[in-house]
């Protein structure tokens, strides 16, 4: 697990989010044994109390189960995991819409950008199916995460603002070559 933590914020909610994400993505599979507080604290380079607190809250939310004899396991409650996935997805959408609003997009404008992207993705996937190279998609999958989430870059912001929708459509053309595999893969 890659523990990417921001020291300016409280650590335990960040640990909680990262573990939750690990459960949703299957890194910690449903029903599997979960590491001890000590192991995970050591892995993340944080204090045991901090990790303990994050794990205790995940237990309260039902994502981790403590068994008296067998230690901790990941929940097997798949609908719960699905619900957590939805919650995280909703947060992502909120973040996206806020970022787009800060770039001067209306809700409709933002949706139009997404629609353009979907069109590009559909074209790309039909190309992939017709046998075009896959190598291009490797490089662009990282870009994709950035485009969708990290629009805090001020330079990009002002440029995008100035050029408007026409150029933005070009930008989404850059995303060609993305295949379907990258769709569910946007990083925070």
């Amino acid at each position: 697990m890659d523990w990417d933590l921001d020291d300016s914020r409280s650590i335990y909610p960040q640990l909680k989010e990262l573990i939750k994400r690990g459960i949703i993505t299957g890194e910690y599979a449903p029903g599997s044994a979960f590491p001890t507080v000590r192991e995970l604290a050591s892995d993340a380079g944080v204090n045991r109390n901090t990790m303990q607190r994050a794990m205790a809250e995940l237990e309260n939310e039902g994502l981790l189960i403590t068994n008296r004899t067998a230690g901790r396991t990941v929940t097997t409650d798949l609908p719960l995991i699905e619900q957590m996935r939805r919650e995280l997805a909703e947060k992502q959408v909120d973040t996206f819409l806020q970022e787009m609003a800060s770039l001067g997009y209306s809700l409709q404008g933002a949706l139009a950008e997404v629609a353009a992207r979907i069109g590009a993705a559909a074209r790309a996937s039909s190309e992939t199916r017709s046998g075009s190279t896959v190598s291009a998609s490797d490089g662009s999958s990282a870009d994709c995460g950035d485009d969708m989430c990290h629009t805090d870059d001020a330079d990009t912001a002002s440029t995008a603002d100035a050029v408007g929708a026409a150029e933005a459509a070009d930008a989404s053309d850059d995303a060609e070559g993305k295949n379907e595999e990258t769709k569910g893969d946007y990083d925070i």
Binding site: D7, S8, S10, I11, S42, G45, V46, N49
Partner: protein, 238 residues
């Protein structure tokens, strides 16, 4: 049932000729915490640590560890890492292990051996042949191999490279007993802030802040390192 408070200082004052090293320090530290004792050079960190382990006597005030005044019992419960290497050059790792076994009933020799082994250090190795970083690691291994209630680590990461720092921080957080408290003094805050529960800021012998890291972050919206830099930047303007 043991008291929740492990360390308690009241009106602690230490005066060196021409300088008040500690000035009316009041302090309570609980069990099972990792505490950062933070301050610039000369702020009183080492003096406070030396009073806690009985190497210095305060001029005024009182100190209790595990509800007991400083003495033979508290010394048996405190594992101390000095800011200097104090082993003689001619000693081997085995000599030092023997010394620790003699002095401390809670010294876990097997654990120390395992840790040295994982670093490729053997019992026959001499202190003289070790690099500065390796000496510091060995010293830390000894201190963390005691099953103490209180670990007092004075500048454990000063003067070693970043890789050695990671090793040292890992060794600290992996090896203290569950109910033990670790006090780490340092001015290199960015390297340790993730492992801290609480911070104590010392400035000119006085405690200017003592709170949990979460409280500090909630209040300031900044890392401990940034808050520290601001606190002590203002301190420079007289």
């Amino acid at each position: 049932m043991k008291s929740e408070i492990l360390v308690q200082c009241e009106h602690l004052t230490k005066i060196f000729p021409g300088k008040k090293a500690l000035d009316d320090v009041n302090l309570k530290i609980g069990r099972g915490k990792v505490v950062g004792l933070l301050g610039p050079n000369g702020s009183g960190k080492t003096t406070l640590i030396k009073i806690l382990n009985g190497l210095l006597q305060p001029n005024f005030g009182s100190v209790m560890i595990d509800a007991t005044p400083i003495g033979t019992y508290t010394k048996s419960q405190v594992s101390y890492l000095p800011d200097k290497n104090y082993f003689a050059d001619w000693m081997t790792v085995k000599d030092i292990f023997d010394l620790f076994s003699d002095f401390y009933a809670d010294f876990d020799r097997q654990k120390a051996l395992r840790m040295c082994d994982s670093l490729g250090i053997g019992e026959g190795d001499r202190i003289k042949s070790m690099s500065k970083g390796t000496k510091e690691k060995v010293q830390l291994i000894l201190v963390m191999s005691r099953n103490a209630q209180l670990y007092l680590l004075d500048e454990p990461i000063a003067g070693v490279d970043p890789a050695a720092r990671d090793y040292i921080m890992g060794t600290i957080i992996n090896n203290y007993a569950d109910n033990a408290t670790v006090v780490i003094s340092t001015h290199l805050i960015a390297d340790i802030e993730r492992v801290l529960d609480e911070v104590i800021f010392l400035k000119d012998g006085r405690i200017v802040r003592h709170e949990t890291v979460d409280e500090l972050k909630a209040q300031e919206g900044k890392s401990v390192d940034e808050v520290f830099r601001e606190e002590f930047r203002m301190g420079e303007v007289r």
